[in-house]
Each structure stands twice: as C-alpha cells, then as structure tokens.
Subunit: 220 residues, 2 copies
DNA sequence: AAATTATTTTAGGCAAAGCTAAAATAATTT
DNA sequence: AAATTATTTTAGCTTTGCCTAAAATAATTT
C-alpha cells in the first residue's frame, strides 16, 4: 500500500465521514469541513482521482473508491487507537484527545499501529464510543438506539455520544455519564421531552431533550 | 514558544548533534547528515537565521543560538521519550525505535509530552542510553568511559552504545549485552585489543576492539 | 604567489498545497 | 424560457522545501 501526504489523508478521511450521511459529497461541503477553499478542494479531487482514490466528475460531486475507503479506514483506525491511548493511558479528558489524534494518525508505521493495538488490548471503540476498524479495515456497525427515542423503564448502556463538543462533555462529566455507564430511564415528560435518569443507587436527575438526542445506547 | 515545521525541526536537531563534536557545523556536513543538497542547507540556514535560531555568516559555518538550542532540546526530549515508549511499552527492538521516533517527535502537543513522560515514570535515558532532557531542556551529562579504554578486572555497567546500527544491535543481542547489563572485564589481549567479558555466572566470551569502542560504561 | 581544487552560495526551476478573482456550469426564480 | 443566483472550476499567484548548474569564495598545492 502506498503512502499519502498529511493533506491527502485529511481530505480522504473527511470525505469518508461526509459520505456516510449524504452518499455523495460536494465541493463546498468538503471545503467547509476542512476550513479550506472550494478551489483547493477541486485541485485535490483531481489529484485523488488521478490516484484512483475517488470517483469524481466535474460538477457532479465525489465519493471514495473502494481503494479510497480502505485508505480512509486505515486512517480512522489509527485515529481512534490513538484516542483510546490518550484517554486510557495518558488520562487525557474526552474533549482533548481528538486534536492530538488528528496529528498522531498521520504517523505511518504499520508496525507501530499493530503493536499499539496489542498494547491497548485490542479495544473495540474509542473514547467517544466510535468503533475502531480492525487491521483489515473491518468496522463493526452496532445498531445503537437514540436515548431520546426510548420509553420509560428501560435499562441501557451508554455506547456512543454523537456530539463531541467541549460543552456536552462538560455537562456529561458533571452528570457522571460516560461510555459504558448503565442508565435507567425512570420517566419521560411529553411537555419538553426531558427525561429522568438514574445511575446505580444515585439519586434521580434530569436531562434535556437536546442531551438525550446525542446519547446512543445499547438496550440491556 | 513558536511552532516549527518538520523540516525546520530536522535541521535544528541535526545541527545540535553535529555541533556537539565540532563546535561549528559546515554546510556539507549538514547536507550529508540530512541526505539533502548543500544548496538546500544554505536556503534553510537563511531562514533559521532570520528566525534567530542559528548564528550564521556566509562561508563561515553555523551553530545554534541559545533559543535554537532550547528548541533542539525540546525535539530531542520528544524523540527519546517516544523511543523509550516504543521499546518499553510496545516492545520494539532497539534498532526499530529510531525511525518511528523520527516521525513522532514532530507531534507538537506540550501536554502530550508531559503526560507521556508521567506515564513512562519520568525515564532518565532512552533505549540507547542517551539522556532524556527534562521539561526545561536540562540534560544530564554523565561521564561515561569507553569500554575499550579500560583495564582488566573491572566491574562495569553498560550505559550507552554510540553506534546504533542494525549490525551492532544484532551482535549485542546475541552476546546478551544491553543498556544496564553488568559486565566484568576478565582479560585484554594486546595483540588485537580484543577483550574477554563475563556477564554474571555465564561463561566468558570475547568481543573485538571495534565492539568495545562503541560501548560506554559506568564503573561500579 | 599563482594555480588548482573544494566548498559554499546564488540563480533559476519544480512540485505540493494553499489562495483570490474570474469564468463556466448548474440550479432556482421569475 | 429567461433571468438570476449559487456552485464549481479554471487561471494565475504565493510559500515552503527541495533540486541542478553556474558563480563566488576559501583552502590547498604547486
Ligand atoms: Mn489529521
Ligand atoms: Mn473519536
Ligand atoms: Mn524527525
Ligand atoms: Mn536514541
């Protein structure tokens, strides 16, 4: 497998994430995502097309080729393994891991990543609950349910948080909710869709609709 | 403290190492060290001079400024901490750590390095026995003695190996010599300056002059 | 002290990755 | 169906870091 520049890798990864939603990605979308200019995106798409990493016809948008997806999954694997390392071993807080992993993901030693994976005990998910692709780029897609969509009297395990901002981290930290936390939905209020939640034997507390919409859970 | 490009950092670090011996570094020396062309070195020296990281007068060679040395020690700190991590935690062999650390050293998060240092237990030396600068760039200079220069009947501890090639690693691994190994010099032969060495209760074995010249030890 | 050789610098270019402004194309209104 | 607006691409320029070949300077021989 060839080696790609930091810039190429950042583009490839961004396309991968954007096309999860939309299927096909537009020039403006990608420029927005990467804080760059549409003209720069067009330049890079020509290059990635020449390298057969994207399918691209002028004005028609683009998506990763099979090869491009494989490359993307490699980058995502590195990113998430480093995030796990930073959180688990170096005790970085949840919102700090991403920026550093954004740099570490580009260190291109196959052996490094395999040894790191082994050292970490082959973790399945990063600190945000996102699954870590295996050596072959295979990724497990769990079907999580959004906490906001569940009725009262359910016992669930927090598995993923879709918003990764400082602000939600701050709130979740305060409420002592993190990946793996077991929650019990005690009540739902139709007025504002807020819910009352219990963790273990601790007193019940309330979370808003906005929070519940960002928490994804496995039902126990 | 400002941020420097990967290229700038590689130049700064190379100058630091070269000037340890010579005091002042020449264009050709640095080009040789970095596998680049003299013309490229001149270009970079102009830039580093403009940034006040080197003292440089055309045709007169160059050396790091105080600020340049501080930057260099920061890079060396990162490099050696990563080498320690790779060897100690990921079980990389001695000759593999350098290449990977050469990339990792450029990841520029202050917090990452301080947390890593803490996680590793504030190691004093990298796997090759080279001292790791502290947060302030302070580096301990031990006065090691070259094994080749010592008489018979000395008990010593291997502290540094000056040659970091695959070949010497292979030999030392086979002879079970590594940093921290306690050696006893049993005999020296004037004919070829080879020496007979004992490790613990294992049988005596011989090392050549060339090997002994690359091993540096503390006398016990 | 010249002449020769070695080293270093300058001049001029190239590729990667970004930018702005203008042109081309597509999508949406009227 | 035009006209207008939005999106995308092209053209042309910039910076960084590298290169080769030629010119300048320094060091060494003769
Ligand atoms: Mn990145
Ligand atoms: Mn993540
Ligand atoms: Mn390096
Ligand atoms: Mn080392």
């Amino acid at each position: 497998m060839l080696n790609y520049s930091v810039s190429e890798e950042n583009y490839i990864k961004a396309i991968f994430h954007l096309q999860q939603q939309d299927g096909t990605v537009t020039t403006n979308e990608l420029a927005g995502e990467l804080n760059t200019r549409p003209a720069s995106v067009t330049d890079m798409m020509k290059k990635l097309k020449a390298k057969k990493l994207v399918h691209y016809q002028p004005y028609r948008g683009f998506r990763l080729s099979a090869e491009g997806s494989k490359v993307a999954l490699g980058i995502i694997r590195r990113h998430r393994l480093w995030e796990y390392f930073l959180a688990e071993k170096l005790k970085f807080s949840w919102d700090e891991v991403h920026a550093v992993a954004e740099e570490l993901e580009h260190v291109s030693s196959k052996k490094l990543i395999e040894k790191l994976d082994e050292f970490l005990g082959y973790p399945k998910a990063d600190p945000h609950g996102d699954p870590i692709p295996d050596v072959n780029g295979k990724i497990e897609h769990y079907s999580y349910q959004c906490l906001a969509s569940l009725p009262a009297n359910k016992l669930v395990v927090v598995s993923h948080v879709s918003n990764q901002s400082n602000e939600i981290l701050d709130l979740l930290k305060h409420k002592k909710i993190s990946i793996g936390t077991k929650l019990e939905i005690k009540r739902r209020f139709d007025f504002d869709d807020s819910m009352e939640i219990k963790i273990g034997r601790q007193p019940v507390f309330t979370i808003s609709k906005q929070v519940a919409e960002n928490i994804f859970v496995k039902i126990n």
